[in-house]
Amino acid sequence: MVTGGLWLAWQRLRGTVSMALFGLSGALVAGSVQHVVQTCRGNCLGCGSCAVALAGAVVSASAGVAERTSGRRRRLLLALTALAGLALYYLLSLYKRGLLPFQI
């Protein structure tokens, strides 16, 4: 009975939660970029915070994508989300080592 009620509540809320996951992902990306921009250039201590935040952002966005899409479209968007996360991490790594030709 309770499980059924919870399941119904979840069915009503899942659209809202999936949108919230995109917002959460945005905050984690922003936090990761701010951390690298403000403290890490030429001074990376290898704390791993940027990687943790970006991984969290990818997982959160992927959960949102998985909830809102299906089939081939889901697989494609999940792959794109993961690639975007990796690309951003690579960009931030280059920046930390001073290898980007511009200031972020």
Binding site: G31, C47, I104
Partner: protein, 315 residues
Amino acid sequence: MPGAKSRRHLYIRFGSYLLGLMLFYVPASLFVRAFYGVQGQHLVGNLCDSLNLRMGVGGLLKIETWQKVFAADPRSLGIFAVIAVAFLFGPLFCGWVCAAGSLSEGLSRLVPDRFKIDIAGRVNAAAIRYGFLSGFMILPFIGLSAGCAFCNFRILNFMSLGITGGFVPALTSTYIVVIALWLVLGGMFMKGGRGWCNFLCPVGAIQNLFHGLGARLGFTYKLKYAPEKCRTCLNCVKVCPMRAAAPAAEGRWRTANGAGVLFNRHTCITCNDCVAACPHGALSYGVGKAAVPAPAPSPQPAGAALGAAAGRSEV
């Protein structure tokens, strides 16, 4: 075309935004100066003496923030004052004194409507903003923050300093991203001009969260809707800067004419533009019940489903 009542309301609101600029932003930042003045301290009015609400929200789950509150630091006290006001009276800070939101809203009025994106009833902005807020408050626990580099309050501080001849730092890419989202995409090219507020402002999100809780109580102030007076002219939907109003589905309300309107408590900033724009007196701001729903003719009102799907609480 807006009526005389609407225009007068708009002038009063923009006047209050100017007051907000003077109260919370350097070089004036009268609120913080006055608070420090009472404590016998002298301030010169630099950036850190302005009200850092965004930082306040980011640190709400941290013990240090609460220690600062007990030390009566006005920059930390500010966020608690704003939350208390939101609980009792609605997000008045957003609707009446936030100069950052008013700037993008004002810019939006310069662009014709046909060039603007309208998110009303299309995107669940409240859910995205609450998600952003939760990430924003979790970040400090992994040693990060999404505060200063992406802060539109800070950029507005720089702008007001620049206009008054103060020091303005070089634009970094994060500031360029913020300006593009806040003033261009979410401002000029979004209907209502409150795109940044709708999706990304953690200060607005925490106020709406507490407003959503407070509005359930009878003694708090809130937007009130009288369906029996509503003629579904949708003036309120047209003027709402937060796109918090949307036409209700048939059967949701027993109105004088048409299906009526639904308001999203989680994006409403109690600016009362809708109250001023309503020619039939169906909307008001005050204490009591938010609305008296008419008995639904069908067992599952379509409007209720719409409201739930869009993350709306009933008004």
